[in-house]
């Protein structure tokens, strides 16, 4: 086989902790090669080594048979090896076009802005996002940033394109566009290394699959030879049971009711009801306004609302503190920007919202440490070093830590925005079970997710948003993949009764 790139016996240590122990496999040109493994298995690290962001501690990377050693990502890019980062790698103050061309601007003495804008627009077009290239990245939503990140890589004419969880924040629609793009690249002979925790995607687009476990190469097989179930088992090294636990019937009383929430520019008179013991999903395409709706609800954005009632009592939520006081917490989809303080260690991150439990009145750091150890155990957070900064955790482990942080507050209403983003199958399953347990114990859970199967498998009801409005609330037999997509894309509207009552109140 014509090998474009090959890993030979790659090892990597951070300080005394070895995270890759002699990994070897190869990928051919025109191949889509998936790399899967649990959180912290070493996927991102391996890819960073390939792309010149980190040197290996040992072993050899070969490109077209020749051993290569990159001093920087620029060296790798010179050979057409390009990485789409799992965590965003964009300068927030610069525009989309500036970022796409950063480090390889066109123009002579003066920059050719027009050309770059055109080039950026074309690259954005290829990944199916319509965005003014002059927009500052700071003003983009998380999925938009992800698409820009992809556009940036795609515009680099890669021979080897490494995608580290490119679809973690994308909805099926964008994902499909991306797949079309990947298919096209593969026809042109590009090697695509594709990392994802979404095994259905892996099954759909890859030619071969490599499985890593705990920094070791487990196997490389033709995708066709494996079922998703087998992939999952190979990843975790044991037999995984059913992903979704059974749903218990929600209670009758209302935990949270929101009437006519408007977030200027993003959401328009959104209303919904959350019952005790219920899991309420929010589906929608990128840009439907789900994130902003809930940021508005918590007072994290300017918003107006007619009425919010918590367990029947009207409440005013103007700040996240108000929300917390009323037992409402929100997990942001933007892990790095809003979820974790990457510069701080795990412990202060974990206890940030619950410090009052440790203040007596001085902080009891030992108790905090015990809480951390418990969380590491309970949520399966893998870290070589508990003293490390949160930023050094693998993506999925960061997600688990963020989740552990908000759940530590023992909230009544839990709003989870993309809770399984970047989380491996095993852990995902644990999170699903956790959500179900929360519901069963009488809490209300709102799950905003771009993964339809997740919503379908988890939720009692799903609100579908489109263009900043709740287009439909589906439940029971009406709750199906096709229906959700129809509403989400605006192909179907549910406009029988006046919007507000139509929306949601199940008993109304």
């Amino acid at each position: 086989m014509n090998e474009r790139i090959a890993f030979e016996n790659i090892t990597k240590s951070f300080g005394p902790v070895e995270v890759l122990h002699g990994v070897g496999f190869s990928a051919a040109s025109g191949e889509v090669h998936a790399v899967i493994g649990e959180n912290g298995a070493g996927k991102s690290t391996l890819m960073k080594i390939l792309c010149g962001y980190q040197p290996p501690s040992g072993g050899t990377v070969r490109f077209e048979g020749q051993p290569v050693r990159f001093a920087s990502s620029r060296d790798a890019e010179a050979l057409g090896i390009v990485l789409i980062h799992q965590e965003f790698n964009l300068a927030e103050d610069l525009s989309v076009a500036d970022n796409i061309y950063l480090g390889r601007e066109t123009g002579g003495l003066l920059l050719d802005e027009a050309a770059m804008r055109r080039g950026a627009a074309a690259a954005l077009e290829r990944v199916g996002v319509r965005l003014d290239p002059r927009t500052r990245v700071r003003d983009l939503s998380v999925p938009q940033k992800q698409l820009v990140e992809i556009a940036k890589a795609v515009s680099r004419d890669a021979q080897v394109l490494v995608m580290d969880e490119p679809t973690a924040t994308l909805t099926p629609h964008e994902t499909e566009t991306l797949f079309t793009l990947i298919a096209q690249l593969r026809r042109q002979g590009v090697t695509v290394l594709y990392i994802s925790h979404k095994l259905d995607e892996v099954a759909a687009i890859s030619d071969r699959v490599t499985v890593l476990r705990d920094g070791r190469h487990v196997t490389t097989r033709a995708t066709a030879e494996l079922t998703q179930h087998e992939m999952a088992n190979l990843m975790v090294g044991r037999e995984l049971e059913d992903m979704f636990p059974t749903r218990a019937e929600p209670g009758a009383d209302t935990l949270l009711e929101v009437e006519d929430l408007t977030v200027p520019g993003w959401a328009h008179s959104v209303s919904f009801v959350l019952r005790r013991g219920e899991v309420l999903g929010f589906a929608g395409l990128v840009g439907a306004g789900r994130t902003e709706t809930f940021e508005g609800l918590l007072g994290l954005r300017r918003s107006a609302v007619r009425r919010v009632t918590r367990a029947g009592r009207p409440v005013r939520i103007a700040t996240p503190q108000d929300a917390a006081r009323h037992g409402v917490v929100y997990l942001s989809e933007d892990r790095k920007g809003k979820g974790l303080i990457t510069e701080m260690a795990l412990r202060p991150n974990l206890t940030l919202m619950t410090l009052e439990h440790y203040a007596r009145p001085l902080l009891d750091t030992r108790a905090e440490q015990r809480a951390l150890e418990a969380a590491v155990r309970d949520y399966g957070i893998r870290s070589g070093n508990l003293e490390a900064k949160a930023g050094s955790l693998s993506g999925g482990n960061q997600q688990k830590l963020a989740l552990a942080k908000i759940l530590a507050t023992d909230p009544e209403v839990v709003i989870l925005d993309e809770p399984t983003r970047g989380v491996d199958v095993g852990a995902k399953r644990e999170i699903y079970h956790l959500i179900q347990r929360l519901a069963r114990s009488g809490k209300g859970v709102i799950v905003i997710s771009s993964e339809l199967p997740e919503l379908l498998g988890l939720c009692h009801r799903v609100a579908v948003m489109h263009g900043g409005r709740v287009a439909a609330v589906l439940e029971g037999s009406g709750l199906g993949e096709h229906e959700v997509i129809q509403y989400a894309t605006g192909l179907k509207t549910q406009d029988t009764t006046p919007r507000r009552s139509a929306n949601v109140h199940p008993q109304a």
Binding site: L352, A359, S383, N385
Partner: protein, 336 residues
């Protein structure tokens, strides 16, 4: 949630990175090196009386710098501290002089003056904090503005001259600076108390943790339901109160205030903080470093007074060189 993999919880703490550790001791090493040089230049450096003098003097800038540590860690800055000190000194002197009419030249008057000083400091801080957070104005601008305002108001109050504490009152007040408890001058005790308390608040309370969190990533703090506005306002109030405490010690020392009181203290205070290893960008820092930084700055001045080997014109140059060298020693502690 149960994940029965034992290896998941591996937490083999890395062996203490010796190098990083030495780096973080940088300012202390710098101070020791300086002390060594000083002793070689003039053995009298090591006398108890000289060391006492040095620490007593370091108390002013040191106490202010403890406050500045909070502000800087939270991601802010306060340029007004020197002017604020001048204004507080001037106002409380005027007020105490006036009070002495009714309350007499008594401790009551002095204590009333002290309380008023603390009040003014806290209020100034409240103003800064509120303008910065609710008014959404850069701290640099707000406090640059008040730097001018406070000093101006003092100049106005003093009509360009100086304001002096009346003599009998000055005698009553004097022990606060010149007195000692168990042989240790009161300013040193106060400095130690402020530093300890500051360290405790910063490292062992919720509030301190919030300050660090906000300085590291304000958004995350906001999303974690921390009242960012309040925490920030309080940092400026702590700064104001620290300035007031320093001023309370300062007034009995020189017994007067004038338009040049506290000039450039802001630079010194911030320098003490940064030399001590707190990053100007905020997020993390340490009170003990600040204390060492303040002592170091005062020691440089002291050493220059102890010798005559250097042209008097070059004092500031020596200070500059020493500061850079100390920072260099310390850089191991910083990420590249």
């Amino acid at each position: 949630m149960s994940t029965p993999k034992p290896d998941a919880a591996v937490a083999a703490a890395r062996p203490p990175a010796v190098l990083a550790r030495i780096g973080s001791l940088g300012p202390l090493l710098g101070l020791l090196a300086l002390a060594l040089v000083a002793t070689l230049l003039n053995p009298d450096f090591l006398t108890v009386s000289n060391l006492t003098n040095v620490l007593t003097r370091a108390a002013f800038i040191g106490i202010i710098a403890v406050g500045a540590t909070f502000v800087i860690i939270s991601g802010g800055i306060d340029l007004s501290v020197g002017s604020m000190a001048a204004l507080i000194a001037g106002s409380v002197i005027l007020i105490m002089n006036a009070l002495s009419g009714t309350l007499g030249n008594s401790w009551t008057t002095v204590v009333a003056g002290m309380l008023i000083a603390l009040g003014i400091g806290a209020l100034a801080g409240l103003f800064h904090g509120t303008t910065i957070t609710r008014g959404r104005i850069e701290p640099f601008i707000v406090t640059l503005g008040t730097l001018g305002i406070y000093r101006s108001v003092l100049t106005y109050l003093s009509q360009g001259g100086s304001i002096s504490l009346n003599l009998p009152l000055s005698d009553v007040y004097s022990p606060v600076y010149y007195g000692a408890v168990a042989g240790i001058p009161i300013p040193i005790l106060v400095f130690a108390a402020v530093a300890l308390l500051g360290g405790l608040i910063l490292n062992r309370t919720r509030y301190g943790r919030y300050v660090q969190a906000i300085g590291s990533n304000e958004q995350v703090a906001r999303y974690a339901a921390i009242n960012v506005t309040r925490v920030k306002i309080i940092t400026y109030m702590i700064q104001g109160i620290c300035v007031a405490i320093a001023t309370i010690l300062y007034v009995p020392r020189l017994g007067s205030a004038s338009p040049s009181t506290g000039l450039l203290w802001e630079l010194e205070a911030i320098a003490a903080v940064i030399i001590g290893g707190t990053a100007l960008k905020g997020g993390s820092g340490r009170i003990w470093g600040t204390v060492v930084g303040a002592v170091l700055l005062v020691t440089i001045e002291n050493v220059l007074n102890l010798t005559s080997i250097i042209s008097v014109y070059l004092n500031a140059a020596v200070q500059g060189v020493v500061i850079i060298i100390v920072a260099f020693l310390q850089r191991g502690g910083r990420r590249a």
